[in-house]
Amino acid sequence: MTSARDITEAVNPPRAVFLNFPLGHQTGKPNQPELQRQIVRDAMRAFETIQAPGTIIDLPYGWNPNDNGWEETDYTLGFLPPRPEKVDADRIEASRRAKFT
């Protein structure tokens, strides 16, 4: 699948399915299995329907019919989370790993 249609147009893979959702939501919204299932089903169908190499299929689902505000802010200044310092990253990782040991 592709979350960035312009990048995929340049890369030109054999088959691609584009969904115009914010980054981090390429197969749907959290805790909405029906929408997720629909997206994934469409992607599986594309394996069979795409005949010409380099085709990008556009899925018809919209993020929010009343508000496309996310399109203005996605991947702009201030959008990305700060990368933690190593000491903080180590601490976060230690607490995650501790749950499983």
């Binding site: 699948m1 197969t27 959290p30 089903r41 394996f47 702009t76 499983f100």
Partner: protein, 156 residues
């Protein structure tokens, strides 16, 4: 309207040398599907930085990948990535790594079989050469050995 991420990336990183995007003008490599996807072994892969249980986190320019058992529960999964906002993926990994959905599609026969394991890597790798020469060949070798017939790559 699809967002244009190439100019956005240029703006975000305007202090750096402009990124040299991968551009492939030739016809993509093409393997036709010789049977229905309902008869295929399909592998799930995500560049969203998913981790299974106590697997180590990803580092900068990390071309490593993680194997995620196909029966992994939601509580077994976490996300490590700084190229997108990961709150929703951490709440429900199926937003970028639809493992539970693929298991359902396998059960209902929409796909022939979900390959085990699924794969995850951290897609924020500056060096496309590293991806092309290190990450991609290693994963595809495993996929070939496992006789995977199609793979479903979900970006973040």
């Amino acid at each position: 309207m699809p967002v244009a991420y190439i100019p956005r990336t240029r703006e975000l990183y305007s202090d750096y040398t402009p990124y040299r995007w991968v551009i492939n003008n030739n016809r993509p490599p093409w393997t036709p599907l010789t049977k229905s996807i309902a008869e295929c072994r399909v592998a799930l892969m995500s560049s969203g930085g998913l981790l299974y249980r106590d697997q180590p986190r990803f580092h900068r320019e990390d071309a490593s990948y993680r194997r995620i058992p196909k029966d992994a529960a939601r509580a077994d999964l976490d996300v490590w990535h700084f190229g997108y906002r990961t709150e929703d993926a951490r709440t429900d990994p199926n937003c970028v790594f639809p493992l539970a959905r693929m298991r359902e599609l396998e059960k209902e026969g929409t796909i022939g079989e979900l390959a085990d394991p699924a794969y995850s890597f951290m897609g924020g790798i500056y060096s496309s050469r590293k991806v092309r020469d290190e990450l991609a060949p290693r994963i595809t070798d495993e996929l070939k050995k496992a006789r995977v017939e199609a793979f479903y790559l979900v970006p973040a």
